[in-house]
């Protein structure tokens, strides 16, 4: 049962990745995506400050970027 679940999950992931080839927009349709606030790392200063707080208060770090914290707070 677990294996079937795994297989189903892998199938979904692979189909999504393959499906990527047909997704997307033409260069002239990037008006909204090109906005500063649509960048995946918009507000980078806030994100790095948050990472520092959560790195020092929780057992998890990274994900968006590298997991290393560079401080002795954890």
């Amino acid at each position: 049962m677990k294996n079937k679940m795994k297989l189903a999950l892998i199938t979904i992931v692979v189909s999504q990745v393959v499906g990527c080839a047909s997704l997307g927009v033409q260069p002239w349709e990037r008006d909204l995506l090109a906005k500063e606030e649509m960048a995946l790392n918009a507000e980078g200063v806030d994100l790095s400050l948050d990472d520092h707080i959560y790195f020092s208060k929780e057992a998890t770090s990274g994900g968006r970027g590298f997991a290393g914290g560079g401080c002795g707070c954890n």
């Binding site: 997704l23 990037r30 909204l32 995506l33 806030d46 929780e58 590298f66």
Partner: protein, 445 residues
Amino acid sequence: MQLTKKTNIAAQLATATCVLLGSAQTHAAPTTSGEWQFDTAILYYGETDRVSLVEGVVSATKDFGDDHIFNGKITYDGLTGASATGAVAQDAVQTFSRPSGKGGYQVAANTTPLDDTFRDSRVQLNANWAQPFSSGIAGGVGVHISKEYDYFSAGLNGNLSFDFNQKNTTLSVGSSFQYDQIDPVGGKPIGLSSMPMRPYSDYDDDDEQSESENSDEFYDSAFTTQYQSREKSADKNTLDVLVGLTQVLNRRTIMQVNYGLSVADGYLNDPYKLLSVVDTTGVTQDIVFEERPDTRTKHNIFWQTKYAMNNGVVDVSYRYMQDDWDIKSHTVESRLRFNVGESGYLQPHFRYYRQGAAEFYRPFLLANEALPEYASADYRLGEMTAYTLGIKYGQKRANGDAWAVRLEYYQQNPQNAGFAEPEALQQQDLYPSIKAMVLQFNYSF
């Protein structure tokens, strides 16, 4: 004209950050050499009765033309306050040695033991360079160096990204190596060894602390030897690998999936964390230092989607983490940006976090049981949920500068991961909640 230039640089900055963090580069417009762009922030973080932190950041970015971008960043933080040692509360006054061995402190009955000598300042420097190599291929390198009183960290990272499918799909791979050295106050304690206690019972309270620290007659030679024989420093290496896929789904939606592997090797203990060893009734018999394994391998899956509304942005993300300490965690986060008027925006922020306990997490040890190989009572390795609620308001000024202010509330709720509590501990709050406020100002020019 000025406005356009600023906007471009900001977009480049975001792109550069993307690349250097190991994320995908999503858009890039050809540009000419620009002016320096500065992003600054000051943040206050304050916990009720515990730690408070002030952190300042100045980040400077310049496009030297054709997306050859340099970013330098300096971060300073100053920390004061008290943090939980890991020892349990008792119904009597408890006495602990300071980490330095110079003096001690007392904790009132029915109070979670906190070490209030927590005081540090840290300076971190980051430098990053990003540039395209050929059509559809870009890369970046970065370094960081960070120093605080008892800690030093230096790291290198590199990243490559490959655009295909008309730049609708980007694959990125990145790696970082970090070296950390810790010089614990009082030296490196031996894991699970008893905390040295002075042969006296006349420990001073905080107000008289400085007096006791200066008093040589205060030390018993056997007591002092325990500190002198300790190693002075310890280190660890951390290697990260990050693979990311970014996909434009349609005109309004972009999605990212990252897989991150992080392997740490070396001294992973917190030298200041303690455990209480209690008898079957829950009364403390001994206090020992924690001991963690000397390797840790973490796996992260991170998914993020952003959707452009007509008047704002929806940003949702989910992260799953699992490591070989048997910690599993889930993080869900969302930011909803609503544009207000011509140049402002209001952005509520929500974050929920849940983690399971490390396999060696113990809220306390039992005196009638053999010492385990590893044990830590650090609540940050225990079972916990946490949430953040925040609001941010930002505005772009007529001259192209931008400012923002955000206010957040963060609460951690540690929980019992299934440990039976002896009688004397049942009346104690072994898993107190931690409540914090965050206030931040940003200014970009």
